[in-house]
Symmetry: D2
Amino acid sequence: MSKNASLHYINYLQLDKILNAQSPESSSKGNEAHEEMLFIIIHQAYELWFKQIIHELNSIMQYFKQEKIDEENIGLIVGRVERSNKIMGVLVNQIEILETMTSLDFLDFRHYLSPASGFQSHQFRKIELMLGLKIEKRHQFGGCPYHAQFKGEEKNEILNLENTDSLFNLVEKWLERIPFLNMKDFDFTKKYEKVISNMLDQEVSIINSSNLSQENKNLRIHMLEENKKYFQRVLDEKEHNKAIEKGETELSYKATMSALLINLYRDEPILHLPYQLLRNLVDLDHKINSWRFRHVQMVEKMLGQKIGTGGSSGQGYLKETVDKHKVFTDLANIATLMISRSYLPKLPKKVKEKLGFNYKR
Amino acid sequence: MSKNASLHYINYLQLDKILNAQSPESSSKGNEAHEEMLFIIIHQAYELWFKQIIHELNSIMQYFKQEKIDEENIGLIVGRVERSNKIMGVLVNQIEILETMTSLDFLDFRHYLSPASGFQSHQFRKIELMLGLKIEKRHQFGGCPYHAQFKGEEKNEILNLENTDSLFNLVEKWLERIPFLNMKDFDFTKKYEKVISNMLDQEVSIINSSNLSQENKNLRIHMLEENKKYFQRVLDEKEHNKAIEKGETELSYKATMSALLINLYRDEPILHLPYQLLRNLVDLDHKINSWRFRHVQMVEKMLGQKIGTGGSSGQGYLKETVDKHKVFTDLANIATLMISRSYLPKLPKKVKEKLGFNYKR
Amino acid sequence: MSKNASLHYINYLQLDKILNAQSPESSSKGNEAHEEMLFIIIHQAYELWFKQIIHELNSIMQYFKQEKIDEENIGLIVGRVERSNKIMGVLVNQIEILETMTSLDFLDFRHYLSPASGFQSHQFRKIELMLGLKIEKRHQFGGCPYHAQFKGEEKNEILNLENTDSLFNLVEKWLERIPFLNMKDFDFTKKYEKVISNMLDQEVSIINSSNLSQENKNLRIHMLEENKKYFQRVLDEKEHNKAIEKGETELSYKATMSALLINLYRDEPILHLPYQLLRNLVDLDHKINSWRFRHVQMVEKMLGQKIGTGGSSGQGYLKETVDKHKVFTDLANIATLMISRSYLPKLPKKVKEKLGFNYKR
Amino acid sequence: MSKNASLHYINYLQLDKILNAQSPESSSKGNEAHEEMLFIIIHQAYELWFKQIIHELNSIMQYFKQEKIDEENIGLIVGRVERSNKIMGVLVNQIEILETMTSLDFLDFRHYLSPASGFQSHQFRKIELMLGLKIEKRHQFGGCPYHAQFKGEEKNEILNLENTDSLFNLVEKWLERIPFLNMKDFDFTKKYEKVISNMLDQEVSIINSSNLSQENKNLRIHMLEENKKYFQRVLDEKEHNKAIEKGETELSYKATMSALLINLYRDEPILHLPYQLLRNLVDLDHKINSWRFRHVQMVEKMLGQKIGTGGSSGQGYLKETVDKHKVFTDLANIATLMISRSYLPKLPKKVKEKLGFNYKR
């Protein structure tokens, strides 16, 4: 029990601040537009949730910044990414509420807002940066850098985040540190390489012995050859580094191999939570992207092809970000390298034991 | 364009208030519990949305308080109830976020909160009261009335709402005013009464001539007789008033008949939006109730059978409210009186025209 | 009561068919992959719901094919589009279920499926065609037309739909028939044109008299001039027709004007349900598009950059369709033409009466 | 690639069966009711998904039936319960689709259906039984046992499930087998008992030294004493067994203790997936219950207080099942026994190591 015997819900939640922070411009201009309240409140709800996501990301990144993450904390990290995902899920659904405000309703107060704009959400920019969406990956808008919107301490915070490790960087380093790629009796990359080569040969021979038309055979064999090239590029560290230079991929060779190993051997006890983590990170990327996508639809309903408050061409810019503002694509693309369990190299018994629990009954 | 050329998103949304209103007790006690932030933020998000729902209810009730609602505004009212429903839908889903906080997490800071409690949400009580959940309909908790939690202006506001028309009362009056029950050529109640009587007779004769077993026939005929009693009670104004006195129903006889007429003849242009409105009100009740239900589940996960902060027995009380704190049940129960379109009394041509649009091509 | 006294749930639902229609290829090959059942069942669930959407679209189109839609039926049509939207909403959420199947799980049976492919969903193609996604609007995939996948009766059905009115065409014709553009005392287009011109002039003068920097003023005035051009193009029937020829827009001039009028004067009783209808159609488009978008994400997780079953490059094709396979964009873009209520031309009293109900108290 | 080069989507999914299994009774009676199609299709979609849930439950139970569950498979089991939960989540949302069918629509064909009834879903009964809802836990309806609805093989299957281990039983046995309650240096129950006793004493002394009113102090101390009794009952095996006999609880003493240990020490690597599993099982119970709850609301909208097809009093019965048909309540109630991490007995280093991974860097 708290000694603070008088703690009341209203004080604890500081509702005097929260519930007195809505001052519709239309009201102060003496021409109240009923819907402006919704516009304010939904944006405030977004900002509250952004604060929570930043709270989660901060704690997650703190763990990753340690030289070694205590195994006890992996489950906790997984849970916090999952929570962020659930929040993003609610934020996606929340757009439906704003869509009950129509174009006609919005125009009743839109002119009061200019030049305020959703672009100016400092917290959302922070989230993007913390995840790893640094300036060189961003779709440029207008002539000036995205952080021109901010000043003083806020701008410094942004610039500072540009120059420190993002979650992407931290996860990459963690993957590079993982000690399973080359265990005494098991060189994963070599084993994998051999298996891929056998697999593709086998598929070619199945196609050749099938009753497909020659044309169809050629098509399929062509596809396999494309796959082969893809695998070769990935398995050759130099090729991989070239691809990084060209901007085709970003995750380092070693981190990529570790992520692949985790996905392939996810059932080994020590790899299961790391697998859940990688999966949750891809989901987070996808959920944020779904939010951008639904945002575009909402703007289309509200403004059609009109230009946004703050002078943004709204839809056009937003659309570009849907495709481009992704952070964990390389983790999603591990799927390209996955192979069927039937081809999976067996782990030697000793290796298997190492990846299991200490407890013996 | 606004003359206020310097309006910035951050100021417009008063984010200095919104984002500086989180002071975890555990942090101030020097023992930060990571999850307390979530606990604060989700409650604040709830309160923001409650404010929005109150904003909508206020505007809706304003229209209903007019002697005659302008037909132009019915669509608008329908839309605002629908918006409130979408908000409640998001609030239901939002519980999933809080459920990512487990019992173990909650216990890290729960003791700091006592005696603050969700019971103390002034806005939620206002919503209940505005809809029509007056004190005599409430499940009593502990020895003292629910508004003992509040003081000063807040208490006055609650007591004041107890004594003024709720949305339920206003909708009832509006239904009573609707002029369609007895139109020149069409006495709805009589027509409906006759049709019901024929329908039930016909169903009895179908059963008797069927190849069902005698036992089965008896069962079905018994059921029909029960239905008949129900209809008789409803159609007899005195019986209806007795049922009101006994607390079995609440909506007045005349309002009930109007609601039935609207549901049966919803396809007539003048009745379609009123029909949407009645439907949306039932949905609002159901959504609030779903929220209570999910709330019970969340508390079960978090506290099991523990006693709530603020000394509430938590679950037990909440469970009772799920069943009892309903406002628009009588509107839902109109469904009991519905009959198949094939039995529906035809509207005379003149009546039909009256319910249509003015425009003639 | 049914005379068919023996009707049992199992027979009524033909569960012998429904529940005996799952024959995993992996099982028949003696190598059961647990997840193949999910793959089959979710696709079957999709197809069931597609059948329901087709059922709704058929009934809606039937009404629109009548020379005049009875006012009684507009509410019903609105409801059926809304139902289709709720179905699509569930179909979007359903993707989450399939996403619990990972790449590794999928690869256990994927090779058995080739060349079967989701492209071969006949019903989904029908839905697209019924809505209005004719072949010339489609993103081409591979060398051959999309209907090369089908044969016999199924192909005929597709080709037939290519040549008959889609819902888009029918709605366009209905909008053209609507008699409100030029009512005795009210020529909508002229009134609107004048209002726009005044509005833009006024905005220019506000900017010029503001304390903005000259640069900022120039920017804003430039934006207004762009808007002006847009309005001029729209308001000039010849320009509009040129834009149609260039493929920039599709909806006829007259239909566009009617859709604008409905959106601007939606509060007039006779226009409210038509307004709900137009809104629901845009929503349907958006929901289908959200489904495509989430589909791309799911494929990314499952296959990365791998090539799809059936030889499709999967992701790439799907991504293109997200942007291009839209049908009701012109209805969404009406928002570009919307103006604030404060500029809205007042309807003369007689016109207003015509748009209201017949009933006089 | 499959040798079965001609596998087509339509054949693979057996769409000839799936899409030809809808024969509305109203159509065959020459009086088509548009909405009957929806009624059929949504029930079929439910049955498809029930089949999938049964598929998952079967595989999960298979693992639990083994003497020892391979650690590799725990992650997989967790994932399959989670998938079942996502399916149930979609089934809950799906009710919204059926709610677009109103009372008036339903009455157009309801009379054709009698006596078919949702009670007759064989698969749903199977799911309930597989989870552990045996006949003695069920809310009785009418005079006869719930399985009187079934005949022949279907009835046998039900009776057979009544007599074999449910998932509840299997999980209970697994919890009893878990070897962590009494490890060499660590007798969990004793440690926990002592901690509880200290904790309660401490809380009493905090209350006594607080500045609360005497009345308030008494109230709080009374609450703590109630908690104490609860803990004592739980910690005393004999008392626990008495509670089982009285039907107040069901999970065995040993299983309860193991579940508590797992929840308290969930961060230890070997306990994290078991913790996720217990949590997912409670969620499954809650999701099924949410479905029942929404089902009641849907029936209320559709029938009001009418009697259901098949002669069930519909709502009344369904309402009872919402509260009573729960299976994993004892796992949820573990929350009652949870204590703050600050009170948690420290694990000796050797014990901690045992619960960790084998791998040493």
